[in-house]
Structure formats: structure tokens, C-alpha cells
């Protein structure tokens, strides 16, 4: 960076989708306008996501000779003040979250007034993290191939094409212990080896960026923040298996990721890092992007292939696996975004380096999205083997203010809900599977005492029912019947026999469905039955929802002692069920109330009570 920007201040603003959702574009505009107004000369760029979404919008300022500081929770006004301070040659301490040391510069020393600002590695959110997949996310301009190269990008590809045989690459990946990060956990090197030995031509490599699990957004982040790491990994994979073309299948809901990966591909082509004769080695490789169209099942590899081929995204039975019989019947490798971003790091630093991180059989790092009812939300990359407790209470800093964390949901609709009493479990493929959940693609949704676990199970069944492609009967019909039973339970209409039927159905769907979607769809039901049976009992036997969520089982009232008559609840009630005079206690008409709890959420006085 000091070579790229020797004497110019460089400011980068976190502008992945999450940053933009927090208002980063307004902050960016304010920085630009104020710098122009003051005639302050700087390089102002957008970057991706540094992971600490809770602190967005984030602004990273690098001042030659002064240092590099990350500012958090910025507003346009704060941005203008920041520029004013910088233009007088100061790095202000206000809103400084952390300082970022730079490996290649002489800006290590911290000015005295910033001595209280911790290093980024000292923040509790980051102390346990080890960034490999996210090594560049939020630190570089995702459009700049120069910045990617400045941080050791393309060393792996040059080593691969100039010094390694395809077997060497496969051996390196095998020895690293890397397992598929899309959730399956299959050893990547082994998969490549199978495909490499196939004789069919041509071969293909596909990057699966159809990140459909609700609660997971790491693939989007990598594509938006560091697209070259994926391109480089794919090119290495193509060389290893003998493929000259690759496809990136991105889900439709990620327009920014699609734009950024397309721009990065075009730029890599321009630089000769994609196309013919890469590094003069005789190896040709090209990548095309395919935009999905909103079908969860397309994340399943055989469905994804069908979708690229131009048909419906319906899965087919495996074997044969795509490594033997994939796109247009040809040998095809499908790897997740994070797997490919890991590949480029592994080939650059070596298998031994990677295999020393994590634990035996679970080497390397995994990226999780820590979201839901947790104090620190964001993307977290940790070595495998950390416990759930270290993740949620350490990195996540526990639940929301004053609320007790009850469970964590891992693995999306295919995963399960694990109770707080199991938080000593280490996070790895096997431990989570044994507990009835899965690691999946890395979504971790934290739930607290205000979350109803029966309602959550019903939420997931609603999801899988809607996303079932309908090809096989167990999944198509089974998820629908399970959803109907769960609906009876949350409405207080169920009998104890319903739970027996629910469990039977769950096992039947799990054992007889065609693809992973159906085989794992019952997991949210089975885990909540296993760990939160008391909540099912309360709904069925006592017609009570302990969390105060299920509408048929709760009532809302306003405590006249606490209500100050501000009228906010009256204004926000979607059905006009609240009445009252200004500055006098308000009243909810129980006949009109739909128990949506909006009044409860907006009341600044805590005067709206949920009667369970």
C-alpha cells in the first residue's frame, strides 16, 4: 500500500451491501463533498466488509506518516468533521474504533492522543479470529487488482502455473486438509483428484455462490469484498483438474456481488490473468457468471448444474457425482466461494501452514455469520474447534441488552437449534452433527427468551415447503403436512398425538427424500423437539406460548400506570386497534387486535405488556 499510495491519504468506506444498508453511501458522499470543499487531496475508495457489521458504517483512514485508523458508526456529519481534522494533519480520536497496523509501511507508531485506541487485533470481536478467506475483505478496494496483488494476490497462481504440475496442486490441497466450505465438508483435494482422473472432455469448474441459507451472507461478502481471491482459486482449480472454463453461479438476490465479480473478471482478462496463455504457461482459462433466479434448491449441486444447462433447477440422484458426470454430462467440480478463496491462500502459503491451523481432521478456518439476537453481529472467521460459548459470548459479546440467550440455530433450514446448555460444544462438522444440527454454510442465528422455538420450527418448514421443487413426494408432501401440524400447535389447536405424528413424519421425510433439501428439512423440527420439548408441551397442554410470540396464545394490554399517552403505538398499529387521548393512558381493543406486538416494540415506556 505504501508503494501504491506513497504520499496520499487513502480513505476507504465499507460499502458491501451491509455497509450500504447502514448508510455508507451517504457517508461516502459527505467525505467527498467536504474534501472537495476544503481542497483536501485524497484517494477515496469503496471497500467491502471488514466483518464487524455492528459498527457500520465504517471508515478506514490511512494517513502517510501518521497511521491507519478505523472509524465506526459514522454519519455524514461525523464524516465532515473527520475531513476537517485530517485536513489539518490530524488523525482524530473521536469515533476511532481501532488502529490497523500495516505490514509494509513505516506508519506503525501511534500518536499519543491515539494511545487509548486499541489495535484491531485487540478488539474482543477480533482477538480469536484468524482471517484467511476474509484476509482482504474490507481492507482493499475490490475493484483494484493492484491492491489485491499488493497483498500477495496472484502469487499462488504464478507458483501453480510456473512451478507445479496439476498433481502437485491436488497433493497440496489434499495435504492441507481443506474441506468443502459450502457445508458438505467433503475433502476438496480428494474431489479434485477424482475429477482429474476422469477422461471426459471438456471439464468444468463451477463456483457455487447460490448462498440460499437464510442467515448466511459470507459468500456475498467475499464476492463483494475480494472477488479476485475467488477468481484466482478457480483458475488454480481449473488447472488442477484440467478445465479451461469456469462458471460462477450467483443468486439473484445479490446484485452487487454479481456486478463486482463481473467487473473483476473483466479486469483480470484485461491484465492477462484470465484468457489465453496465462503467465505464458500455455494454460487457458475463462470464467462466466450465471445469475440465478430465486430458487433455494439450486444451491444443491445437481440442481445448480441443471439450472446452468438451461432447464429447471431440479436435482437428480447421486451417484454419479458431478466430478464424473456433471455439466452436460462432463466431469465437473463444484466448489463453494469460501473453499476457492481458501485455495489461493493455501497454494501461496503452503499446505503445512494451513494444516497447522485448527484441529486434526478439521484444519483451517471457517467463516460464520453471527446474527440474530446477539450484541455483536458480523462475519467471524475462526479456526475450527472454538466452542459455541466462545463464539457467542466472547466474540458476540452475549445477547441483546438485558435478554437471556436461549439457543443458536446453525446450518440454515438444514440445520438445527442447539440450546444454551450445549454451548460448550466445539464448533466442527462432527460435533454439530452429533448434536442433531449441522455446520452447514456457517449461518449462526442467536435466539433469546423472546424467540419461540415452535414458531422457529414452523418458520423453517414454511421455508422448505415453499422451496421444495416438488420432484419427489416425501419432500413435497411431507414438508406440507409437517407445516400444517406446526400451524395447529402455534394456534393452540393441537393434541398430544400431533407431536407423535410430527416426529414420525420428520423421520420419514429425512430418510426417503431425494436430495439434501428434503433429507435435512426435518432437522429444525427434530432438534426443537429434542431440546425444547417443554415449549411444545406448553403450546399443546396449556395453550400457552412461553416466549410470548404465537398470536393465538397471547394478548396485549397497556399498563395505565406506565403509559404516558405519547400516541406512538396508536400511530404504528397496523389495524387501528389502539385509542386514547393525548397524554392519557391508551387502550387496546382486544376485538380488533391481531397480537402483532408492534405496539410492544415501539413503546418507549415499556407500557405494553404481553399476557402469555
Amino acid at each position: 500500500m505504501s508503494i501504491l499510495y506513497p504520499q496520499r491519504p487513502r480513505i476507504i468506506v465499507g460499502m458491501a451491501t451491509c455497509g450500504l444498508a447502514a448508510g455508507a453511501d451517504e457517508v461516502f458522499d459527505a467525505l467527498r463533498e467536504e474534501a472537495d470543499r476544503l481542497g483536501f487531496d485524497l484517494t477515496l475508495l469503496a471497500t467491502g466488509c471488514i466483518g464487524y457489521c455492528q459498527q457500520e458504517p465504517l471508515v478506514d483512514v490511512r494517513m502517510p506518516d501518521l497511521g491507519r485508523v478505523l472509524y465506526a458508526k459514522m454519519t455524514p456529519e461525523r464524516a465532515r468533521n473527520l475531513i476537517t481534522a485530517l485536513s489539518t494533519g490530524k488523525l482524530p480520536a473521536e469515533h476511532a474504533l481501532a488502529s490497523i497496523p500495516e505490514e509494509d509501511s513505516n506508519t506503525r507508531k501511534r500518536p499519543e492522543h491515539l494511545s487509548a485506541v486499541p489495535l484491531i487485533s485487540e478488539l474482543p470481536f477480533y482477538t480469536q479470529q484468524h482471517k484467511i478467506v476474509l484476509r482482504n475483505s474490507g481492507l482493499i478496494d475490490p475493484f483494484s487488482i493492484e491492491e489485491y496483488i499488493a497483498r500477495d494476490g496472484y502469487q499462488a497462481l504464478s507458483r501453480t502455473l510456473l512451478h507445479l504440475s496439476s498433481q502437485d496442486v491436488i497433493d497440496e490441497i489434499t495435504q492441507s486438509g481443506l474441506r468443502g466450505r459450502g457445508g458438505g465438508g467433503f475433502p476438496t483435494g480428494k474431489k479434485w483428484g477424482v475429477c482429474s482422473n476422469e477422461t471426459g472432455e471438456p471439464k468444468y469448474i463451477i463456483c457455487n455462490a447460490d448462498e440460499g441459507d437464510p442467515g448466511a451472507y459470507m459468500d456475498r461478502t467475499v464476492l463483494e469484498s475480494d472477488p479476485y481471491s475467488v477468481i484466482e482459486g478457480m483458475t488454480i482449480g481449473g488447472y488442477a483438474i484440467g478445465a479451461n472454463s469456469g462458471y460462477v453461479y450467483v443468486r439473484n438476490e445479490y446484485p452487487l456481488a454479481i456486478e463486482r465479480i463481473n467487473r473483476a473478471i473483466a479486469r483480470a482478462e484485461e491484465c492477462g490473468l484470465l484468457g489465453e496463455e496465462i503467465f505464458g504457461s500455455g494454460f487457458n482459462f475463462s470464467i462466466k457468471v450465471v445469475r440465478g433466479a430465486g430458487a433455494f434448491v439450486c444451491g444443491e449441486e445437481t440442481a445448480l448444474i441443471a439450472s446452468i444447462e438451461g432447464g429447471l433447477g431440479e436435482p437428480r440422484p447421486r451417484p454419479p457425482y458431478p466430478a464424473k458426470n456433471g455439466l452436460w454430462g462432463k466431469p465437473t467440480i463444484i466448489n463453494n466461494v469460501k473453499t476457492l478463496a481458501s485455495v489461493s491462500a493455501i497454494v501461496s502459503k503452503g499446505a503445512r501452514w494451513y494444516s497447522n491451523i485448527g484441529t486434526k481432521g478439521n484444519t483451517g478456518t471457517v467463516v460464520f455469520s453471527l446474527v440474530g439476537k446477539v450484541a455483536n453481529t458480523g462475519l467471524v472467521e475462526v479456526p475450527l474447534g472454538l466452542t459455541l460459548k466462545e463464539m457467542i459470548e466472547g466474540i458476540g459479546n452475549g445477547g441483546l441488552a438485558g435478554r437471556r440467550v436461549k439457543a443458536v440455530q446453525t446450518g440454515g433450514p438444514s440445520g438445527g437449534c442447539l440450546p444454551a446448555r450445549l454451548f460448550d460444544l466445539p464448533i466442527n462438522y462432527e460435533a454439530l452433527t452429533q448434536a442433531g444440527s449441522i455446520m452447514g454454510s456457517g449461518g449462526m442465528v442467536v435466539m433469546d427468551e423472546d424467540t419461540c422455538m415452535v414458531d422457529v420450527a414452523r418458520y423453517f418448514l414454511n421455508f422448505t415447503m415453499a422451496e421444495s421443487c416438488g420432484k419427489c413426494t416425501p419432500c413435497r408432501e411431507g414438508t406440507r403436512y409437517m407445516y400444517e401440524i406446526l400451524t395447529r400447535i402455534v394456534e393452540g389447536q393441537a393434541t398430544p398425538e400431533d407431536v407423535v405424528l410430527l416426529e414420525e413424519l420428520a423421520i420419514w421425510v429425512k430418510e426417503t427424500s431425494l436430495c439434501g433439501l428434503g433429507q435435512t428439512a426435518p432437522n429444525p423440527v427434530l432438534t426443537t423437539l429434542r431440546y425444547f420439548h417443554d415449549e411444545y408441551d406448553a403450546h399443546i397442554m396449556e395453550k400457552r406460548c412461553p416466549a410470548g410470540v404465537c398470536r393465538a396464545l397471547i394478548q396485549l394490554t397497556i399498563d395505565p400506570e406506565l403509559c404516558n399517552g405519547c400516541g406512538l403505538c396508536m400511530r404504528e398499529c397496523p389495524v387501528g386497534a389502539i385509542s386514547g387521548e393525548k397524554k392519557k393512558p391508551h387502550f387496546i381493543d382486544p376485538k380488533m387486535c391481531t397480537q402483532c406486538r408492534t405496539c410492544h416494540d415501539v413503546c418507549p415506556e415499556g407500557a405494553v405488556k404481553i399476557v402469555r
Binding site: 457489521c53 445469475r291 433455494f296
Partner: protein, 159 residues
């Protein structure tokens, strides 16, 4: 020479790309455009119809000027996304999947926008609004109605 010619497959992703192109130009998939597309791709019209109904991104009904997507991902759901939807539906007088009478807004639900750290989240066209509070709905809608003062941008800052 084989007696039955081997089918030539269309280029990868060609069908989806075509449907996306029609959809972004017209806002939906009109029948006449689908017929032309089927000819161009040399694919049966029935396949285009199946694909158009299989994928949630496409619609046969004309849509509003702006699309409001309410995220129903897990994090958004447990942090009140369903209630945002309910409020929006009563405010615009239509259910999700429908278009307001003035033709300005279509409400959609989406299974996850991938901005889970900012939950609950809504998206209007390509603008994503995070940490969304229910009382921001009128301001945000006004921003997309012409000649009405609205909220300046997506951000709502926490201090």
C-alpha cells in the same frame, strides 16, 4: 453419422439470461416476448413457461414502478420482519405479491437478502435499508414517490 442428430445445447445459462433480460426491460414476462425468446433459443415454449414459474424472480403480471422486498430470512424474521411486512401491507392496501392501486409499489417477500447483520432489512429496487424500524416506512416510501419529500438515504444511525 448417427441417424438421430445429437441435440446442440444452448450456451450455459442462456435461458435464465434471456428471462432476466426480458424481465428487466419489461418488469415482467409478457407472453409475446416469451414466444419470440423461445424461437431465438430454439427451445420449446413450454420449457420457458416452466422455468418462468419455477423461479421466483419472474412474474407474468405487470409490476409496480418500484418493488419493495421485505426480507424473511431467519435473522430478520426473529427481529420483526413479519411485522414490517404486515404494516407495509396495510399501509399500501395490498398483500405481498400484489401491486398498489396507484401502480407505484409491488410488495414482495424474499427468503434472504444476505444482510443478516443489519436485520430487519427491506430493499426498495436496489437500495437496501438495514436496522429498519417500522416508523421509517412512510419516509422511505415517500422517497420513491415523485415530488414528495422523503428520507434522504438508507442510513439510520445509531449513536
Amino acid at each position: 453419422m448417427p441417424i438421430i442428430a445429437q441435440p446442440v445445447h444452448p450456451p450455459a445459462g442462456a435461458l435464465l439470461a434471456k428471462l432476466h433480460a426480458i424481465n428487466s426491460e419489461r418488469g415482467y414476462l409478457p407472453e409475446e416476448d416469451l414466444r419470440v425468446a423461445a424461437d431465438e433459443l430454439a427451445l420449446p415454449l413450454s420449457l420457458l413457461y416452466s422455468a418462468a414459474t419455477f423461479y421466483s424472480a419472474f412474474s407474468f403480471k405487470p409490476r409496480g414502478l418500484h418493488t419493495v422486498q421485505v426480507c424473511m430470512g431467519t435473522a430478520c424474521y426473529i427481529r420483526g420482519g413479519d411485522r414490517l411486512l404486515e404494516k407495509l401491507e396495510t399501509k399500501l392496501g395490498v398483500k405481498h405479491g400484489e401491486t398498489s392501486e396507484d401502480g407505484v409499489f409491488t410488495i414482495d417477500t424474499v427468503h434472504c437478502l444476505g444482510s443478516c447483520s443489519m436485520s430487519p432489512v427491506i430493499r426498495v429496487d436496489e437500495d437496501t435499508y438495514g436496522r429498519f424500524k417500522i416508523n421509517r416506512i412512510p419516509r422511505v416510501l415517500n422517497k420513491y414517490r415523485q415530488n414528495e419529500p422523503g428520507e434522504k438515504g438508507p442510513g439510520e444511525q445509531e449513536t
